[in-house]
Every structure is written in C-alpha cells, then in structure tokens.
Subunit: 212 residues, 4 copies
DNA sequence: CATGAATGAGGTTTCATTCAT
DNA sequence: CATGAATGAAACCTCATTCAT
C-alpha cells in the first residue's frame, strides 16, 4: 500500500516534470512549432518516455491547459466556501480578483486554453480528458452563477438567468485575455487585463447600483 | 493602363476564386486538416498556382479571415456616415446590429480570425498583411470609440476613455463568439450569440440610462 | 489525347522504376528489413515520391508480387488459346511447364506472394488491390480446372471436381516452392523445384494412365 | 541434482506459461500486431521477464511454432514403432491421419511455422534453435521416407528415391494448409484440408494400386 | 529471479513549397 | 501565367530491449 502510493506519487512527479519542461519550450518556440522531441530534450528524457505519461501530443498540451482551470476552480470554491458572512458585493469583488489571479497565475496557458476550446483541437482529445475539462468548466460556471444568483435574490441584480451572467462574464474575460494578447502582438502595449476587467465589472456594478 | 487595370482585376478575381474554394474545404475538413492540395483541387487549379497568388499557406488563411474585418469596417463606416442626424442611442443600436451581422456574415471565419490573432500564428505573416490587419482593426475600433465618445459628450456615458469602451465591447464580442463555439462542442446548444450580445449591450445601456 | 497517353505511360514507367529498385533492395536486405527510405535511395528518388505512386508500403510490396501472378495468367491463357488441336496430355505438359517457368521468372517474388496470402498481411491492402489479386487467382485456377475438365471428359482423369484438381496442383506447387526455399536455408541444396514438379505430375499421370 | 532438476522443470513450466499466453494473444491480434508487452500482460509477467526465458521475440515466436513439429514427430514415431506387423497400406493411412491431426492440433501455429521457414525470418534465430528445427524436420522426413521405402521394397511403389516421396507429400501438405488459409481470407469457405489431403493421398494410392 | 520504467533508434507518412517545362 | 511532379525535412509515435533496483 505504501508502495502503491509512493509509485503513484512518483508517477505524478514525472508528469509534472514533463509538463514543466513542455511549458518552458512553449514559451520559447510557440505552441505549433514545439515538437515532442523538443520537450523530451528539455525534460532530459527520451521521446518514448513522454508517451508513458501522455497518450499523445494533444493530451500533453491539454493537460497543461487544464491546470489553469483547476486553479480557477479552487479559487472560486474558496470564494463560496471559506467566507461565510460575506456580502454579495464582497463576493463579486472576490470573483473579479479570482479571475485576475488566474490570469496572472499562468497567462500563457490561459490563452492556450481558450484556443484549445476550438472544435478543431477538441476532436483529438480522449473522451476522458474531454470529460475532465467539461466538468471543471461546468463547475466553475456553476459557482459564478451561484454568486450572481445570490445577488439577484438580494435584489441587487436584475432578474436575468444567473447562468447568463456567468456566461457573459466568462466570455468577456476570455475575450479580454485574447484581445490583450493580440494587441501585444501589434502594439506591444503593457497588460491591460486588470484595467479591462475592472471596467467590465464596473459596468456591471453601475447597472446594479442604480437600480436600488 | 486599361490593360494594367484589367490584369489587376483579373488577378483579383483569381484570388477570390481561390479563397472561396478554400472556405469550402475548411468548412468540411476543419482548418488544421486542410492541405494546399485540397484547396487546389477544389479550385480546379494546380498547387503551384496558389503560390502565384498567396505567398504561403498562412497568408491564404489570413486573407480569408480579413474579409470579415473588411465587412465590419464597411458596416461601421455606414453607421457613422450615412445616417447624419441620428441619436446616439440609435447609433449604439446600429453598432450592436453591425456586430451581430458580422457574426452571421461568416461565423466560421470570425472564429478563425480570433484564433489567428494569437501570436503563434501571427509570426509567419508578411509585414504587409500584418499592416493590413492592423489598419482594419485600428479603423474599426476607432469608429466604435467615436460612437462612444459622442455618447460621453452627450452626457449619456460616464467619462471613461472612449477607446476603453471600444476595447471592452470588442473583447466581449470575441469572447462570446469563441465561447459559443466551445459550448457547441460540448453541449450542442443552439447559437446564443445574439442573446448574449443583446445582454451585454443591455448591461451597458442600463448603466447609461440610470445615470441621467 | 496523345498527351494523356504519354503521361500515363510516363507514370507507368516510374512505377516500374520504383518496383525494380524495390526488388533490388529486397533481394539484399530481405523483406522485413527493407525500409521505404532504402527503396527511395535505390530508385534515386525522394521518399515522398514513392507515395505518389503507391498508397503505402504494403501496396508497393503487393504490387511487386502481383507481377508473377500476371505472368502465370498470360502463360496459362497461352496454353488454352494458342494451341487448338492439342492433346490433353500435351496441355497438361504445358501446364507443368508454365508453372515451372513462373518459378524461374521470379522465384523470390513467388515465394513472397505465397507469404503475402497470409491473412495477417492481407488486412492492410486496399480493396482494389485485393480484388485485383483475387481476380488473377480466380482466372488462373479457372484455366487449370478447364484443362483438367477436358481430361475428365476425355476419360483420362478420374471423375473428380476439376476445381479440386486445380486446387491440389496449385497447393502442391506453392508447397514445393516454399519448401525449396526453406530447404535451401538449411541445407543449401540446389533447386529441386523442377524435379519435384515433375514427380508430382508423374504421380498424377500414373493414376491417369492406369485407369484406361 | 534433485534441485538442479527441479529448477530445470520449474524453468520449463514458466516457458510453457509464456508460450501459452503468447498463443492466446496471437490468435486475437494476429502475429505482426502482437507486442512483447501484450504477451507479458497476458502472462501476468513483466516484459523483462520474458527475456529471461527467450532470447528475443523471434525466438519466442519460433519456439511456439516448434511445438507442432514436435507433435508431428511424436505421431510419426508412433506410426513406425508401436504397430509392428502393420501392412504398408495401413502405415500410409496412418501417415495421412498423422498429418491431418497435426493440422487439427494447432492449425494457426502450423501456418505460422510454414511462414517461419522463409529465409527472411530465419536469419534472426539463434543457431541452437535453428539446429533444433533442422533436427525435428530431418527426423520427420526420415520417418516418412522410411514408410515410403517399405512400400518400394514391398513392390508397391515405383522405384523413386524415398526422400523424394517424403518431400513431395510434405510440400503438398504445407501447400494445402497455406492455400486453405489464403482461400479463407477471400472466400470464407469451410476447411478443406481434410478433403484435399484425402484427395492427394488418393492420387498417390491410385498410382500405387494400378501398378500391381 | 523478477521487475517495469526508461530507452532511443528508426519507421512510415505528410505536406508546404519549388521549379523545369 | 500555369502546371504538377518531385522534393525532403520533419513530425509523431512504436516497441524490442535493457538494467538498476
């Protein structure tokens, strides 16, 4: 049993090692130009070994992207659970902060994850991984919608389906992140994600405040 | 000159012919699986000929994506120019409609264009094409920001940089479109772009209305 | 038309060129150890070019093997058609000779063809090629059975289904050829195919003669 | 010594265990698609362990094939030894039966063994295994030729080298078995080996009978 | 003896691109 | 201008085999 566990942990460590190496290569060569051989070299492993831990290239890529989703989930659950007597306003603020933290946590992978969602990429993933992503996504959106629902019941938000709020804020977030990336390509501006996210929530909040 | 011109026009016709063929193939095989040979066959041309009209595959792809940007530009210029004594409210409504029309005009290419903006893809484009995209983008955002500026000066919007409004609405739009695609992959829902766009503008407008 | 034809012929020439190169490599390195790169190098072409003429490695291999079947077909048709007033005895003799000639024509490929017939190999072939093989096989066996039928009707052979005769003689032939190869591996004997074939027919013939 | 022996026997048991597992995998996945890992998993051993009992993959494959040769040997020796005062006719009948039993005993491996004999495969075998096969083969053919020799001395067969008889019948047998397999691929017919073997011997026998 | 993680050479195949005609 | 055969680099992935534990 102890042995089983240690092996499992050892295995997980290797996976991490590979994923870290992969990330390093990605950030230098870009996704499409990165080969499995590159990653193997960076991880100081042989190409074949990668396939002991990841079914294929797409799975490795996707596993990387999933980390940010996982991080988001943890953050959101924290917002809901830990702070019991928080006001809705505070929760919305925490939501905003959580999203921005996700961005700071690993912006490169976040961008990649948004691209990953395109149907073209998704087709090659294993059903298991797909289910994994779906679940994480579903869970995160569910929590967001909970927050908005509280707001609605507290009479602070207009009566719209809470899931719509969640969808819109998530769309906006992904749009902002991608747009920031593309702007950086063209204008080399500094990050404007924080400010944009602030503004987006501000707009939400104005609507809220004035309805009192 | 007449001859020059005719040649130029002939050349443009060929480009269009190729782009149309490319689109047909894309919609069937998906982007990553489409080869130059596929396109050549669909266009009833030889592979070599494609390279007389497009520097490389990425250029062909990008040229396709640009069409939606061009369409957006035309629509936005129409909003500003044609309708002289329109109220700001009407202009904002027209802006929303223009964006949704762009989506309907060619959603597949719109999605592709958003993906195209990733730095990974952009690296391979010719400076000329890049400049082209930058200009179209810049112009569109400029017009949007004009509309918002009018609103601000009319005292309808809060005093934020108009370009920020433009950025946010454009981000939100791209986010919605991409999110819709990814949702469709997982849930096979019907299009929710129109509704989401409505809601996003609604949120804007509520903020607007209540500040009077 | 002339152009179409010339292209077709040019194409066929290339196919031959590749097949000849392939054979040369096979005879040196053996089948399983031969790579597409080896063949390309021998043919002084690039690896990619091979795939313009053969769908994959198995198709190339099989196409090679088919040549002996084609040769057999031609020889057998010659036996039936050209010689009108021949006695059955003579035809049987011609049959035997045809089979031996096939062996001399290209023993290496004949051996390979017999191995090819194993279900394991067959699974990867294109339906078209499979049909091709089936047809050639069917035709050859049909002609053999015709010869035996003539013999039966002439009262020379016992009354057994002619196809059974054809099957048996073909089985025996393949067995002899394969056995010869395996013996050569072990004992380095000289070819015994001719003698064995003679003997096999001799046995047949004794049966025939004595039933008069 | 007792210990030595027991170890030896234990070792042999393991070999058998692996070979049985290998066979099970072969019959499902086909030869070319079976990997050492598959076999290890089926045998509930680790891949490395296989190499303690078999020098390499080819040796494992070949060892499997040898079993039918061993079975044939036993059967043939039984024909010669056990039944002392049997007539030649009876012995020939027993020979035929032995061959058919070999086929029924393990047709899959019999087919494989015939393929194994190709020079291509043989190159990788250890000299020891090769010698083993040679010996078994030699012995079997020797016994067959003994039977035919008896026939010749009894004046029943024509005076041909007995070894030629043995070669021919063995060739025919292998040809029939392989041909049956290839036919099954195409036509899905039922087994015709028994009937074909009957016919082949029938032809032999007719020749015999009529020479009296 | 047994393990099984790691190896890494090597195979097949694809496909954007070129260039002689 | 157009062709399309040829290119050839490079990618992904497999799997027989080894060796430290």
């Amino acid at each position: 049993m102890g042995i089983q566990e240690r092996k499992q942990r050892e295995r997980e460590r290797r996976r991490q090692q590979i994923m870290i190496a992969a990330k390093r290569v990605f950030s230098v060569k870009g996704f499409s130009k990165t080969t499995m051989d590159d990653i193997a070299k960076e991880a100081e492993l042989s190409p074949g070994t990668l396939y002991l831990y990841f079914k294929n290239k797409d799975e490795l890529f996707s596993s990387l992207s999933i980390r940010v989703l996982q991080y988001l989930n943890i953050r959101l659950e924290h917002v809901i659970n830990s702070s019991k007597p928080n006001s809705v306003e505070e929760k919305v603020g925490a939501l905003k902060e959580a999203m921005y933290d996700v961005y700071k946590f690993d912006s490169m992978m976040l961008v990649n994850m948004f691209h990953l969602q395109s149907s073209d990429t998704v087709r090659n993933l294993s059903p298991q991984l797909l289910e994994n992503i779906r679940e994480l996504s579903h869970n995160s959106l569910g929590i967001m919608s909970q927050i908005f629902e509280e707001g609605i019941q507290a009479g602070i938000f207009f009566d719209m389906p809470p899931m719509t709020y969640a969808d819109i804020i998530w769309s906006t977030f992904s749009g902002i992140v991608l747009w920031e990336e593309s702007k950086r390509v063209f204008t080399h501006d500094k990050s404007y994600v924080e400010q944009a996210l602030d503004t987006a929530f501000e707009i939400f909040r104005r609507g809220i405040k004035t309805t009192k």
